[in-house]
């Protein structure tokens, strides 16, 4: 896919050209959001929002970073916002018990070991988790992560290292294999 050509088409009024973008990115964006939220249905909703925002953004502004980084930035902000809302919700009384149990029945079936990895990852603070997922799951270089999150490479290196240390501790406690 030639991003520049597609974006030019969209700006020229070809809304359907955006389908190419969605097709190209949807799997990785949904997976990314799933890793950040731990909730597959939510990840799908957030991915939709992300693409809609991206579409509006293309019409408005020339992004100052690459399209991919920008798309992931929108996705990241959406995930974090979701996280914050969920935290807020937990303070509101009278929510049903079912909603209190996070992610119940919304996970993708997977082998036991990977479940332990999932659980450990979800307990890591969001900034560090984001960096870990972007690097290991989405295959971003530190430089690309820095571009996406609008921070320095130094900060990314720190967050990855700290995130890994936390992950090791949490994974061992979750009952996974000792590494």
């Amino acid at each position: 896919m030639e991003e520049a050509r597609v974006i030019a088409l969209i700006r020229a009024g070809e809304a359907d050209a955006f389908a190419e973008i969605i097709e190209h990115y949807q799997a990785s964006i949904i997976r990314y959001l799933y890793r950040l939220t731990g909730d597959y249905e939510m990840a799908k909703d957030l991915a939709q929002d992300t693409f809609i925002q991206a579409y509006k953004g293309i019409l408005k502004t020339d992004a100052e970073i690459s399209f991919k980084a920008w798309l992931y930035r929108i996705a990241t902000n959406n995930a974090w916002q979701h996280h914050r809302r969920k935290k807020l919700l937990s303070f509101i009384p009278f929510t049903s018990k079912e909603q209190d149990i996070p992610n119940a029945g919304k996970q993708i079936n997977c082998p036991g070991e990977r479940l332990a990895i999932d659980e450990a990852l979800l307990k890591i603070p969001e900034e560090q988790r984001t960096c870990l997922v972007l690097h290991f799951v989405e295959g971003f270089k530190y430089r690309e992560i820095a571009e996406t999150l609008g921070c320095s490479e130094e900060a990314v290196r720190k967050r990855v290292a700290r995130g890994k240390k936390l992950f090791i501790g949490l994974y061992n406690r979750e009952g996974g294999r000792t590494v």
Binding site: G13, D62, I108
Partner: protein
């Protein structure tokens, strides 16, 4: 290096994110460190586990649903012309807002002057008073009549030159007193005339000598109203307008302003104008720049500029800080016309920052935190502006709160940015460090006392409030460690009417000053004493003296607020900055050195040095609402020549601010002085002599004693020259012609007629024979000292005048014995 410090590098090494040199360094270290090899292995395993999550299969296809949602939101793609629509609309909206602000001043923010003008123009009462003629011009004399500043005095003029003064109540929007008045017109040369007059003032001359530059000249009328009892016994009101000019003089970045009375051709006052402090100027410029660049960025965002989206969020944060600072510094000014523009500027800046911040958040631009910070700061600034507009009295509270907020924000920013560094500090040190930091903060807060109102600001406000006073009354009571106390009531009407009743040692003296005429009603003071006393009284008790006092206070310290005559007042204590005043005075003297007698100059300089030992402590009470001085207590300690300390204290109470006070010359209907009153000529035109007499007695025979009198007369006037000076002597005991005691003439040592310019002297000789056989030796000297010396002379106006002295010691001005007795 500690292996713990290497963890981050090891992690990056495992991820293949190190540069070559870093990689080589780590590999070298790994070869010798088993612990780090273990850590690396853990990191690599974690990486492998996390990477396994890539294999998660995502089967969903959200393409169709997303596209249909996009189409449903009607976010139609922009056609080429539409791409220009947004920036053009944004620019047009901004221009429209600015235009609206400029043309129609927003609700409630109309300047007091404009409000007064529109009230007067629409008033039927004013129309009636002006015989229904059309009002051509409304001039606000910028004089606030009411203590609360709600009444303005204006001059209204019609096409035919009829004019009236009108008081306008801004609160009730009604007109008060209307008095017909003659308003003199300005002539084309008046500005130059004002400058020429200003240049004759010693204060202005000094400023110019120090490198001051004359700036703008503003012309206006100063308005005077008063009540008087007319010949038919009715109380009538009168008003008159004086042509006044304000000549600006700039010196070292400070603005001075000389008030010139063009009608009388003299300078009535010289004061520092309350210009913008430099910090404020910086903030105004910063705010204006922030506003303009913010608008540029908004336009850039609307037209899809890449640069604009990059800088939008940080710009929002910066603009937020500037906007907040702008609002904070507003509180240093009054709610005046310029303040309104300042408020508008800060409002505009805050709105621009708010828009930028919101866009930054909405559009997922970089530096999200900066965008949020900007949004919060700008909202805060807007809330503050709103609070001030609705309820101006909140100012002080807001100033303090904002100051505290800014300090907290800065402190948390510092902590936030240095957070990672903080974690590196060993725990043992961390706790004491935090405690120490807290202690420092508490100390600083205790020293700065952000909850107290800054005394310099209050004094500055008091200065300008006093400066704009039109009239007031004050009582003064003084006590001294020895000698008589002083009680006095003064009245002052701007610019040059002054009335004082001074009681001291059981005697009452009354002064009335109208323009350059001084009237005195006195117990039994000598004429010369009256002149001296009246001059010092007017200079000590005038508005200028109050301003001088405010200008020279230092070491101010706030005491608990107090009520003075029911007015809630700030209470300060400070001291008179003697050093500063002496330095100023020395500089002034140095400028006059060439025109002075060297001995006098030395003596005055020495006197100034001595006054360094004079300590004056000042307590003052300033009304909270109007910043006017309510009370001043001055305690002065001065050592005499023997080093003995003398204490005197003065209490001044001010009241009746801007009330109509009538001060009239003490003249009857025919223009003659009322009984007991004298008219003092001004000192500058008066001639005074220093008169010293020395006697020589010769001859052996007491019955035919020869007496020689040598009289030295020196003209010590300020400037006037005495012509045809003649000296005569009389003594009923020792100058006798039979039973008569005539005036005997003393001859000048040079040819007649004697002309004495300022500072010049002449010696006169007289000799006569006297029978001293019945007088004891030492008694003769005493008798001789009773000799009266009459100096007759022609004034510069060619009037014949005379002054009397006694040989034993002149009444005025010299009390000291002659340094070298003349004639020897």
């Amino acid at each position: 290096m500690n292996c713990r410090d290497l963890e981050e590098l090891l992690s990056a090494y495992a991820d293949g994110e190190l540069s070559r040199t870093q990689r080589e360094f780590i590999e070298e270290h790994l070869s010798s460190c088993a612990d780090c090899r273990e850590t690396l292995a853990q990191f690599e395993a974690a990486g492998r586990q996390l990477s396994s999550l890539r294999e998660t299969q995502i089967a969903s296809d959200i393409r169709t649903t997303t596209l249909s949602k996009i189409k449903a939101t009607k976010a139609l793609p922009d056609k080429p012309y539409r791409r220009w629509l947004r920036p053009v609309t944004a620019a047009a909206a901004i221009v429209a807002v600015i235009a609206v602000l400029l043309v129609a001043q927003p609700w409630g923010m109309e300047s007091p002057e404009a409000m007064a003008a529109s009230i007067v123009r629409n008033s039927p009462e004013v129309q009636a008073a002006l015989n229904g003629e059309e009002i051509e011009e409304v001039e606000v004399t910028t004089t606030i009549v009411d203590e609360e500043g709600k009444v303005l005095a204006v001059i209204v003029r019609t096409e035919r030159g009829n004019a009236a003064t009108v008081e306008v109540n801004l609160e009730t929007k009604k007109v008060g007193k209307i008095i017909r008045v003659d308003v003199p017109d300005f002539q084309p040369g008046d500005e130059q005339k004002a400058i020429d007059i200003a240049k004759t003032d010693p204060g202005v001359q000094e400023l110019l000598a120090q490198g001051g530059v004359i700036g703008e000249v503003h012309l206006g009328h100063s308005l005077h109203t008063g009540e008087y009892i007319s010949s038919d016994g009715q109380v009538r009101q009168e008003a008159f307008a004086i042509k006044t000019a304000f000549v600006d003089i700039e010196l070292e970045g400070r603005q001075w302003s000389a008030t010139v009375n063009l009608d009388e051709g003299r300078v009535m006052g010289l004061g520092r104008s309350s210009g913008f402090p430099p910090v404020l100027a910086v903030i105004i410029i910063a705010s204006a720049l922030a506003f303009l660049s913010g608008i540029l960025i908004i336009v850039g965002l609307a037209s899809g500029s890449r640069l604009a989206s990059k800088v939008a969020s940080p710009a929002a944060a910066v603009i937020g800080v500037i906007g907040l600072a702008c609002v904070l510094f507003c509180s240093l000014l009054y709610l005046s016309t310029s303040m309104i523009w300042f408020l508008l500027l800060s409002t505009g800046t805050a709105i621009v920052g708010l828009v930028l911040g919101t866009i930054g958040i909405k559009r997922q631009l970089a530096r999200r935190k900066a965008a949020i910070t900007g949004t919060v700061l700008c909202s805060l600034a807007l809330v503050l502006v709103l609070a001030v507009v609705v309820y101006p009295a909140l100012w002080n509270v807001i100033t303090i709160t904002v100051a505290i907020i800014i300090i907290l924000v800065l402190a948390s920013l510092i902590v936030y940015t240095s957070y990672s560094q903080l974690r590196k500090i060993p725990r043992k040190l961390l706790r004491p460090a935090v405690v120490a930091l807290a202690a420092v903060v508490v100390l600083i807060v205790a020293l700065v006392q952000p909850w107290s109102v800054n005394p310099e600001g209050v004094i500055a406000k008091a200065y300008s409030a006093t400066e704009s006073l039109l009239s007031y009354r004050a009582t003064i009571s003084g006590t001294a460690s020895e000698g008589d106390g002083l009680d006095s009531v003064i009245e002052f009407v701007f610019p040059d009417r002054f009335h004082a009743i001074i009681t001291s040692g059981g005697e009452t003296d009354e002064f009335i000053v109208v323009g350059d005429k001084q009237f005195v009603k006195s117990g039994d003071m000598s004429r010369n004493m009256i002149i001296a006393f009246s001059n010092s009284a007017t200079s000590m008790l005038s508005k200028e003296a109050t301003l001088r006092l405010l200008d020279s206070l230092t070491d101010l310290q706030r005491l608990p607020d107090e009520n003075i005559e029911g007015v809630s007042s700030f209470h300060y204590k400070g001291r008179f900055d003697t050093e500063k005043m002496i330095e100023k005075e020395k500089a002034r003297l140095a400028g006059m050195q060439s025109r002075m007698d060297p001995d006098d100059y030395q003596e005055m300089m020495k006197g100034l040095e001595n006054s360094l030992n004079v300590k004056t402590e000042v307590e003052l009470w300033i009304g909270k609402d109007d910043s006017l001085i309510r009370q001043v207590i001055q305690v002065t300690q001065a050592p005499d020549s023997e080093g003995q300390l003398h204490t005197s204290s003065t209490t001044l109470k001010y009241y009746d601010f801007n009330q109509p006070i009538l001060i009239e010359p003490p003249l009857d209907a025919g223009g003659n002085l009322l009984p007991g009153w004298h008219l003092n000529p001004t000192l500058s035109k008066e001639i005074f002599f220093d008169c010293r007499t020395h006697f020589e007695t010769t001859g052996e025979d007491p019955a035919h004693q020869q007496i020689n009198a040598i009289v030295t007369v020196t003209n010590v006037a300020m400037e006037a020259t005495a012509h045809n000076v003649r000296v005569e002597l009389r003594n009923s005991e020792v100058i006798k012609d039979g039973d008569e005691s005539p005036w005997i003439k003393a001859a000048p040592s040079n040819s007649e007629p004697v002309v004495l310019k300022r500072g010049e002297g002449e010696t006169f000789n007289a000799s006569w024979e006297c029978d001293t056989s019945h007088i004891a030796g030492d008694e003769l000297n005493e008798l001789l000292e009773r000799t009266v010396i009459k100096i007759t002379y022609l004034t510069p106006e060619d009037d014949e005048a005379e002054r009397m002295y006694t040989a034993g010691g002149a009444v005025y001005p010299s009390a000291r014995p002659p340094a070298n007795p003349p004639g020897k």
